[in-house]
């Protein structure tokens, strides 16, 4: 047994040495679905990371080190992600990027924490760019996990603040997928609305099984029968697109507040059906007041024939680059310390990686699905002739949430 | 205890609107070799299927050793000591001859659904299977899969499986069907020897076999037993000659 362990360790040391000699290129392991149901989204995000990495390399953001994105297909499975993590460790890669699915995020955060504890000197740093389960920066927070996206509670805070100002909103319907995220959205919406606008009535609430419903027409008649003027939904993928299509068919005129209206595939599937009625809450919109980041989106579109919307990639690379520069090192231990409390200028303004829970604090946007008009809505989504019009930009403090995280920092 | 091994009381069975068995009464004393004969379509195989529990009866009662077995499932009837063979060979095709026979003795030896005995460590099933295999003359084919045996060998194995469990009442459905003369003779000897001391009920077309083996004969025509008796009585019975041989003549005329 001893010899085996020693051999393993020796192999790892060799791998590490090889990495050390080639320190000028920092490999970032991208662990997300590249095959199966969610592959289009994963592919888009991989390209986003690559595009920003190329940009940073050209402009030498990090003052020396270059970024390289190494993709690993996790098939959207937590267990496959852990397999990928093993390969990442074998290959001596010290940075992990992941975003799709809180299940994967929780599994990775947990496994990375255990790995770092059991293998000092070989720590891995985990940048979560899209998994929004609040637990990750609250009860289950971890020192090696950094979240670049706003979590679902923050988004709900922003959304309800915006809703509360609209006097036309009277009857709200909560429509979500029946799993932890959908349940969390429904719960948060009820809580926050009761706090901000107790006069708003929750006229109905539905939780439907994830990706099981083919026909949303019955749900839409139920929503309609309840006299709804506003629907809040955390649905994503086809569950969202089909809902909006069905709503249009039945002549339902309510507004839809979504989390995932802008992800790959939804704009195409939704098309005209969502016009003027679908809104999404997010941390950026290309059609913002000054079109900040439009050049990135254009360049991305030219190269990949796809839309750039995962702006967290920009924030992520910018933060890593700044940390490399400040610490003159690419060692995750030093970089992690530098990332705590770091502020960078990203495409949506100033983003701060809050020290207490490793949750990025940033302005949030609410945007509406409208026809292109060449003025404030210049940029199209998935060649549909429609785009997102910025309705409001909410300052960072609006959505900020207290945290229950008790961060354990390595000594 | 009833002296009869098997008793049928006003048994009726229909498929759809057609009544196949029309109130059959039959009593077979223990230890008798009894043959059921009758023209094609008279309902002989159906009668067997009713007795062995393959089909439920519409009305009437079936008694085994005086005990009512009407409506019981095939395996329950089997456990009460009645075993049957099939007209169309019905074996465990992917298992070897030996395994076929061993499967047939396991329940009666009390091993039931055991998953804590090692089969090859069990002497008694092995001995019994070997013995039956010897009696049906398939020892040389011990490890051959049942599915690839010759037709006559399969028929022999069919009988072997039927008798292996040691049931006291045995139903044989056309044991010599499709055999040539010498195979038939061998089969008759086999049936005679393996049913020694047991109750045998068989359906058979070959009159030679019937008159050779049976102690008594029942004649089934259109779902009714028109006569029952010793071979010579049956041979002399004018009603049988009229109905049964008449039907035979018609059949011949058709062919």
């Amino acid at each position: 047994m001893r010899t085996i362990l020693r051999a393993t360790a020796a192999g790892a040391v060799l791998a590490f040495a090889a990495f050390g000699a080639n320190a000028q290129t920092v490999k970032l392991a991208f662990i997300d679905p590249l095959s199966g149901l969610m592959a289009p989204v994963g592919q888009n995000q991989l390209n986003s990371w690559r595009y920003i990495a190329d940009l940073a390399n050209q402009k030498n953001w990090a003052g020396g080190p270059k970024f390289e994105i190494v993709p690993f297909d996790n098939k959207l499975s937590p267990q496959e992600s852990l397999n990928a993590l093993k390969q990442v460790i074998d290959q001596g890669i010290r940075y992990v990027l992941q975003g799709n699915g809180s299940s994967v995020a929780l599994a990775l955060a947990d496994a990375i924490a255990k790995h770092n504890e059991r293998n000092p000197g070989k720590e891995i740093l985990y940048l979560n760019y899209a998994a929004v389960d609040p637990d990750l920066t609250n009860s289950k927070c971890d020192y090696w996990h950094f979240r670049l996206d706003a979590n679902s509670d923050m988004k709900m805070e922003a959304l309800t603040t915006f809703l509360a100002k609209d006097k036309n909103v009277k009857n709200v319907y909560l429509f979500n997928q029946n799993y932890s995220f959908g349940q969390a959205v429904a719960k948060a919406a009820k809580e926050y609305l009761a706090r901000k606008r107790p006069d708003i009535k929750i006229v109905g609430e539905d939780l439907h099984p994830l990706a099981q419903v083919k026909d949303f027409a019955p749900y839409v008649s139920k929503i309609k029968a309840a006299g709804t003027d506003t629907v809040i939904t955390g649905n994503w993928g086809s569950d969202l697109a089909l809902l909006i299509k069905a709503a249009k068919d039945a002549g339902l005129t309510a507004n839809f507040y979504t989390y995932y209206g802008a992800t790959t595939g939804v704009p195409t599937a939704m098309g005209a059906a969502g016009e003027e009625r679908v809104k999404y809450v997010g941390y950026w919109n290309v059609n913002n007041e000054k079109f900040v980041g439009a050049d990135v989106a254009m360049g991305f579109n030219k190269k990949y024939k796809d839309d750039y919307y995962t702006m967290a990639t920009y924030t992520g690379i910018a933060m890593l680059a700044k940390a490399f520069k400040e610490t003159k090192s690419t060692d995750p231990v030093k970089v992690a310390a530098a990332l705590e409390g770091m502020k960078v200028q990203s495409l949506n303004g100033e983003v701060e990686m809050r020290k207490s829970d490793h949750q990025a604090q940033q302005p949030l946007y609410i945007a509406k699905w409208v026809k292109l008009n060449g003025k404030d809505v210049k940029y199209d989504q998935e060649n549909t002739g429609y785009g997102w019009k910025t309705e409001v930009v909410l300052d960072t403090y609006v959505a900020a949430q207290p945290t229950s995280c008790q961060m354990k920092r390595p000594k | 205890m009833s002296p009869n091994a098997l008793e049928l009381k006003a048994v009726r069975k229909s498929f759809g609107n057609t009544e196949i068995i029309r109130g059959t009464d039959l009593a077979i004393p223990r230890g008798e070799r009894h043959a059921v004969i009758g023209p094609n379509g008279a309902g002989k195989s159906t009668l067997f299927n009713l007795i062995s529990g393959r089909f439920p009866v519409n009305s009437g009662a079936i008694l085994l050793n005086g005990e009512d077995i009407t409506g019981l499932k095939p395996f329950e009837i089997n456990r009460k000591g009645l075993s049957r063979s099939f007209q169309i060979t019905n074996l465990f095709y992917n298992l070897s001859v030996f395994e076929n026979l061993r499967c047939a003795v396991l329940w009666s030896l009390g091993y039931r659904y055991s998953f804590w005995h090692r089969l090859n460590g069990l002497r008694e099933p092995q001995r019994r299977a070997e013995e039956v295999m010897h009696r049906i003359g398939l020892t040389r084919r011990r490890n051959v899969a049942a599915g690839v045996l010759s037709y006559a060998e399969q028929r022999a194995l069919e009988i072997g499986i039927t008798i292996a469990g040691g049931a006291a009442a045995i139903l044989l459905d056309e044991p010599t069907a499709g055999m040539n003369r010498s195979e038939t003779a061998a089969a008759v000897e086999l049936v005679r020897s393996v049913t020694e001391g047991k109750t045998l009920i068989m359906v058979e077309h070959d009159m030679g076999v019937v008159f050779d083996l049976a102690d008594r004969i029942s004649v089934l025509v259109y779902g009714e037993i028109i006569a029952s008796g010793r071979p010579e009585e049956i041979r002399a019975n004018p009603a049988v000659q009229e109905a049964y041989l008449g039907a035979l003549h018609k059949e011949v005329a058709h062919a």
Partner: protein, 425 residues
């Protein structure tokens, strides 16, 4: 009797050699594959072997085609992970090494429950009920976050309490040896099961349920008991998965998992006891290792499976046994060179296939970074005519040669078989 002893002695010896060899091989594997990822892969193979063998108790041994076997391993894993968490909290004493037993009992419990319903029927109906139950349990896994942990699943830490003889189960290698031990034990037990009265009657029920009823067996009960035992071993596999990954999520009970084990068992060969063992290893390789190299791994897996169904329905195991028969009768040499020819031309066809699939994939899915790609250590342009010309050329030439070689193999094979039959007659 003496003859019997003489006949059985060498056979038992061979069995000891095979089992001993397997154990030695499993013990030695980590010495060869020292990297963390490789250990993960062989650990998963060990778990998959138990799972696939338990599945084959149904499909191969008892003729029950199940589309919901992951229900038992998955629920076993959930119960095991909850038990582990309670034990870690000190609620009761429970060593990690015995956890698979908890998983197994949990699996068996659900086998009793669901099996009572499913095994009432056989054949296609059985397959459909298992599909329905699989979908039901799969949907429930997201609806009841209390037990299933919702999307995030249930995480755990396998390291707790005082180390026993220096074993903490922290390092992956220790977990591998735990899996290997359970794997050997499960294999031996499942093999033993196939030689018990119930195991044999399961074969009988598979071959001819009606006749089984007429030799005194309640086929429904045979199927039910078999399913319970199979679910027990599936539960062991589930618990080992939980220990290995330290997380259990909804994917453990999903239809994908159930479909996967069917693929694995069939590819390996359901007709032989060792078939599923091979199948499990090949399948894990496909899923875990091949997906590293190509995004089209599912395509290759599907294609491989279909070719097996069409041309080798007995799976890899039957192909091996066919060769063993030839070797045992000293005819292998005669056919070997034809195999070589078929293998060589087959490689050409395979190369053509890989080239076509990868180039198409590159162009349709991944062309944003240009159409330059690397394959077989060569770099070329997927959009270039020459690459396609090479592919088409390989298809034509390779296909032609392969067809020719296969015909020859078939002919020689037929000749040898005729000789065997004549020799016996």
């Amino acid at each position: 009797m003496a003859a019997g002893v003489l006949r059985y002695q060498p056979l038992n010896l061979a069995r000891w050699i095979i089992w001993g060899g397997t154990a030695v091989l499993m013990a030695a594997l980590p010495l060869v594959f020292t990297q963390g990822f490789a250990i993960t892969v062989i650990s998963q193979m060990g778990v998959a072997i138990i799972f696939t063998l338990s599945y084959n108790m149904l499909l191969g041994q008892s003729g029950m085609l199940s589309f919901g076997h992951a229900v038992y391993s998955g629920l076993g894993a959930y119960i095991a992970v909850h038990t582990l968490n309670l034990a870690a909290k000190g609620q009761f004493w429970m060593p990690v090494s015995l956890l698979p037993l908890v998983g197994g009992l949990a699996g068996a419990f659900f086998g009793v429950l669901f099996g009572y319903v499913t095994t009432k029927r056989a054949g296609t109906t059985f397959a459909m009920i298992t599909l329905g139950i699989g979908e039901l349990v799969g949907s429930c896994s997201l609806m009841f976050p209390d037990f299933f942990g919702g999307e995030g699943g249930i995480t755990t830490n396998r390291v707790f309490g005082q180390p026993f003889l220096g074993i903490t189960f922290g390092p992956a290698i220790q977990v591998y040896y735990l899996i290997a031990l359970w794997c050997i034990a499960s294999m031996a037990l499942m093999y033993a099961w196939s030689h018990t009265p119930l195991g044999r009657m399961a074969n009988a029920v598979r071959d001819n349920p009606e006749r089984a009823e007429f030799v005194g067996y309640d086929t429904q009960k045979v199927r039910w008991l078999t399913l319970i035992i199979s679910a027990f071993f599936a539960g062991i596999a589930g618990a080992l998965t939980a220990i290995n990954f330290e997380i259990v999520t909804a994917e453990n009970v999903s239809a994908v998992r159930s479909g996967g084990v069917l693929l694995a068992a069939f590819i390996g060969g359901v007709g032989f006891f060792f078939g599923p063992i091979i199948g499990a290893c090949v399948f894990v390789y496909f899923v875990v290792a091949l997906s590293v190299h190509t995004k089209a791994w599912l395509l290759y897996l599907g294609l491989f499976f279909m070719l097996m169904v069409m041309f080798a329905p007995g799976g890899i195991a039957s192909l091996i046994m066919m060769q063993v028969q030839l070797i045992a009768r000293k005819r292998f040499g005669r056919i070997a060179r034809h195999y070589l020819a078929a293998g060589a031309s087959g490689l050409m066809v395979l190369a053509a296939l890989i080239l076509t699939v990868e180039m198409t994939y590159k162009i349709s899915v991944d062309s944003a970074t240009g159409t330059l790609m690397k394959l077989f250590g060569m770099e070329f342009d997927a959009a270039a005519g020459t690459a396609w010309a090479v592919a088409i050329g390989l298809w034509i030439v390779g296909g032609w040669l392969f067809n020719l070689a296969c015909l020859r193999v078939a002919r020689v094979w037929g000749e040898i078989q005729t000789e065997f039959v004549e020799g016996r007659a």
